[in-house]
């Protein structure tokens, strides 16, 4: 995946020079280990700013919402599925986009890696399969496969589903992945235990809404928690209001979420917010055989009605 960057720069330079697009949206090197910052490049001379490595976990589809320019965007498997969703939901037009597809090997989990070391991590470098972590007085090599973001470890759509040009050959998709082991474990809990589990899960939430704001699906002009006329949800630290936010947000993403993991990556309190969206992803898969963002030709199941839709859940 490290070799991708030359190709990314080459394509970016070309589409800018030829005037195919007005800007390229990608990543520039971050100021911290394991962080890159989304950025745009408008002049072909500036493409040297672009980087690509295992720290590009933010979903760039989030930066396309309602933009009017012609844009080249760098898209991993998950980003590409969110781009499909964006196109279906009229947040951007297909012909505005030049999609630079990146077959992905997964992004690394910065919180997990940080938690493995007592001391502060000062530098992280990577080669094809290894992540080398350095700090004051230590250096350790980790296998990349062991420190992937959880969503990447169980990803079954690493290759872009829509693109104009690929930066490499497709990568092999992971097979025989059990995507919902954790969801089943929660489903099986007794109600009291389940309630306690969610209470614990959300106890650290500070309502910064980073999960929502990192999510390409959360583009409502005014989110329901920000509505003031009338106001739907309390603004304080009442656990009922916090739960309301997370549950409703997850339901709003049902049948649309691609499990890109941007929400969880963004959370400053390390809350496993995917717990909610994954349950709904599983429900949509089981009820409708649906995976979000796989095709421009099919509308999401909660957006359509068919006489033969399953209705077992109506008791």
């Amino acid at each position: 995946m490290l070799g991708y960057i030359d190709k990314i720069k080459e394509i970016s330079e070309r589409v800018l020079k030829e005037g195919t697009v007005e800007m390229v949206i990608g990543f520039q090197k971050g100021t911290l280990p394991m962080m890159n910052e989304p950025c745009f490049v408008k002049c072909s001379g500036d493409v040297q700013r672009l980087v690509w490595d295992s720290n590009c976990g933010i979903n760039l589809a989030n930066y396309l919402t309602d933009r009017k320019e012609k844009i080249a965007v760098i898209a991993k498997g998950c980003d590409s599925r969110n781009i499909v969703t964006h196109i279906i939901e009229n947040k951007i037009k297909r012909d505005q986009l030049f999609i630079i597809g990146v077959p992905c090997n997964g992004m690394i989990d910065k919180s997990k890696i940080a938690s493995m070391f007592e001391k502060e991590i000062i530098e992280v470098v990577e080669d094809q399969n290894n992540i080398i972590v350095k700090g004051e007085g230590f250096e350790e090599t980790l296998k990349k496969g062991d420190v992937l973001q959880e969503n990447c470890a169980i990803c079954i759509h690493r290759n872009p589903v829509i693109y104009d040009e690929l930066v490499s050959d497709m990568v092999e998709e992971q097979r025989d992945v059990d995507r919902y082991e954790d969801v089943r474990r929660i489903e099986e809990m007794e109600p009291d235990k389940k309630y306690g589990f969610f209470d614990d899960l959300l106890s650290a939430c500070i309502r910064c809404y980073a999960c929502r704001d990192a999510c390409p699906l959360c583009y409502c002009p005014t989110c329901f928690v920000d509505e003031s006329r009338p106001q739907w949800v309390g603004k304080g630290q009442d656990p009922v209001d916090i739960r309301t936010f997370h549950f409703l947000r997850a339901y709003h993403c049902a049948g649309r979420c691609t499990d890109c993991g941007a929400c969880e990556r963004a959370c400053p309190m390390e809350i496993k917010v995917r717990t909610f969206t994954k349950k709904l992803e599983k429900d949509c898969l089981e009820a409708y055989g649906w995976e979000a963002g796989m095709s421009l030709d099919e509308r999401p199941p909660l957006d359509t009605f068919r006489p033969d839709d399953p209705e077992d859940f109506i008791k």
Binding site: L32, P38, N62, E120, A204, R207, C208, A210, K235, G236
Partner: protein, 359 residues
């Protein structure tokens, strides 16, 4: 200058003695990180941390704070009357606060305690608190306190400064408020009673210099004051600087110097409370007018506001440095890696394009 020597095994005992006469707040590890919590009886602060995930501002300025209660029950004589609720402003101490976070209270005080306006909630909580700092022997790579008029052993805002000197602690007495705690905790052995060894002042100085030398990160602020506000405001770099921002509230909520709040009435049935909650200039609702107009309608407006407030408006208004103590939390926790050090440099070094008009 009075310095107390505390053998490490006597530390816990002293904290135990303080817990009761005072409400104690200290760093507690919960999951992967530390945060300031009110300590239970017999609970010890965990001093083995770099810095807490959230700043300790909540010990004086809670994220949600009930101010009044009211009843809508018209059979009651006091219906529809806002009544102040009882708050516990008994003496309390925050143990293990880092010097940067302690100094931030003095910056925040400029907002809550002025000649014109006095915020009774903040002031009462602040005055009830004794701040026992923990000097940073090992600052983080994102700490830039030394270029933000602060430092790893900085004393402003502290009543006592605890220094880990290896086998024992040195506790430097900074204010009389701090001194009053010594007796309660039974920390009364003066460090320099035995004159044979190195003086405690020298030991602290050496550790301080070592810590300061470990701070490799900095901000440049020398030209902020002379910059013209309007030119900075209209500068083209904001488009680039604001691009990656997702407008979440992380930077403002983790910041020790962000003081903005919102006041809400929450009615449940026939009774209700008036609450104040932290608010964030990153949120569109922060400035939404009743008319529907929003003077900070775009993300660029909001990002610019946050940095202009901290690094320009505050600088101009108080003429005493930036509204930042260099704790680095916003850098470490920003989901998209917006870095205040970088923005500060751009603002500081900004040169408006030379006038293109013909002569």
């Amino acid at each position: 200058m009075k310095v107390i020597k505390i053998e490490k095994e006597k530390w816990d005992k002293g904290v135990e003695k303080l817990n009761g006469p005072l409400r104690l707040f200290g760093p507690v590890k919960d999951g992967q990180f530390h945060n300031f919590k009110e300590l239970d009886k017999n609970q010890q602060p965990d001093l083995n941390f770099l810095n807490t995930r959230l700043s300790p501002k909540s010990t004086v300025f809670p994220q949600s704070e009930v101010m009044f209660e009211y009843s809508l029950d018209e059979s009651r004589e006091d219906h529809h009357i806002m009544k102040e609720i009882d708050q516990d402003y008994s003496p309390r101490a925050v143990i293990g606060i880092r010097p940067c976070d302690a100094k931030s209270f003095l910056l925040v005080k400029r907002n809550f305690d002025t000649d014109e306006y006095k915020d009774p909630y903040w002031i009462r909580a602040f005055e009830a608190t004794t701040f026992i700092g923990l000097a940073c022997n090992n600052p983080c790579s994102t700490c830039f306190c030394t270029s933000a008029d602060c430092g790893p052993f900085h004393e402003e805002g502290l009543d006592l400064l605890l220094v880990d000197a290896g086998d024992y602690y040195l506790l430097k007495v900074i204010t009389s408020k701090g001194e009053n705690l010594l007796k309660v905790a039974d920390w009364e052995t003066e460090a320099d009673a035995d004159t044979s060894g190195e003086t405690s002042g020298n030991i602290i100085d050496t550790l301080k210099k070592e810590a300061e030398a470990k701070i490799t990160s900095s901000v440049v602020t020398d030209r902020l004051k002379e910059q013209i506000s309007l030119e900075l405001y209209q500068a083209p770099f904001w488009e680039d600087a604001a691009f990656s921002c997702i407008n979440c509230g992380t930077c403002t909520y983790v910041c020790p110097t962000c003081w903005c709040f919102d006041i809400q009435d929450e009615t449940h049935g026939i009774s209700g409370v008036r609450i104040r909650n932290w608010d964030s200039c990153m949120s569109p609702l922060f400035t939404l007018h009743g008319s529907g107009h929003n003077p900070r309608g775009t993300k660029l407006h909001r990002v610019r506001q946050r940095f202009m407030h901290k690094l320009k408006y505050y600088v101009d208004k108080y003429d005493d440095g930036i509204q930042c103590v260099g704790c680095g939390r916003c850098i470490r926790l920003c989901p998209v890696n917006i870095d205040i050090r970088k923005i500060c440099e751009i603002m500081n070094n900004y040169e408006p394009a030379a006038c293109a008009c013909p002569a």
